[in-house]
């Protein structure tokens, strides 16, 4: 959750400039909505309940969940106006997330 919070604060400027932040997780819509309200984030939360999209991206951490279930590998992807990937960061330790400053720089470089 904290990674979203950090990103939200740092990216608010970029968001105002018209960048859409789409947050994908296996959470239910209700959980995402609750979190969005709690963190006051202008994100669009989308629910990938069965991880089908996460799997297509090659971002499933097999058996990485608390009860051995598959979970997403944390990742942040900056996509330009033409729909092309310009920058991305994949987690190798789920406690560590990209520095919001790096994400912001990638967004500004578009």
């Amino acid at each position: 959750m904290a990674e979203l919070q950090g990103l939200g604060a740092e990216l608010s400027e970029a968001e105002q400039a018209g960048v859409e932040i789409i947050a994908v997780s296996p959470d239910t819509n209700a959980q995402s909505q609750t979190m969005a309200e709690k963190l006051r984030l202008g994100y669009r939360f989308v629910a990938d309940r069965d991880l089908a999209v996460t799997r297509r991206y090659g971002l499933v951490h097999a058996g990485g969940g608390a009860t051995g279930q598959d979970v997403p590998r944390p990742a942040t992807v900056v996509i330009d106006r033409d729909g092309v990937v310009r920058w991305f960061s994949l987690s190798t330790n789920y406690q560590v997330r990209p520095d919001p400053g790096d994400v912001l720089r990638a967004v500004r470089a578009l």
Binding site: G6, N29, V53, R56, G58, R73, V85, V96, D99
Partner: protein, 130 residues
């Protein structure tokens, strides 16, 4: 320094490390350096060992017990539990990622393709509550 003081210092370092990491989890500089808490617990363990070397009284044993448990637990979380194996991602800089349509928090469909030609997107995959 006397054994008792070293023991107290060890406990302060151990609990201070824990409080800093948990309390400042929202701060990227703290969260993104989880090895910091492992180092903090290791320092507390070293202080407790020093206290024990000076005097085998109970405060030194308490400090050593606490710091060893935190060091073992912290190292296990950081180096074993939190490790994310490399995955064969299809993401490539300069290429279009796979399109998708998923429901948003209000059940409305969101497609990546909707933003093409209109605005940039930051796509964040996260683990959720699990």
């Amino acid at each position: 320094m006397r054994s008792g003081r070293l023991a107290v210092l060890s406990v302060i370092v151990a609990l201070g490390t824990l409080a800093t990491y948990v309390g400042l989890f929202g701060v990227a500089a703290v969260r993104n350096h989880p090895e910091g808490y492992v180092i903090g617990f290791a320092a507390a363990t070293a202080l407790a060992a020093l206290a024990l070397a000076r005097s085998r009284r109970w405060p030194a044993w308490v400090a050593l017990g606490l710091s060893v448990v935190l060091l073992a637990g912290g190292a296990w979380v950081n180096f074993v539990v939190a490790r994310v194996p490399a995955t064969p991602t299809v993401l490539r800089v300069g290429e279009r990622p796979p399109d998708f349509t998923l429901p948003d928090a209000l059940g409305r469909p969101v497609s990546l393709a909707d933003y093409r030609g209109t605005r940039p997107v930051v796509l964040v995959f996260y683990r959720g509550y699990w």
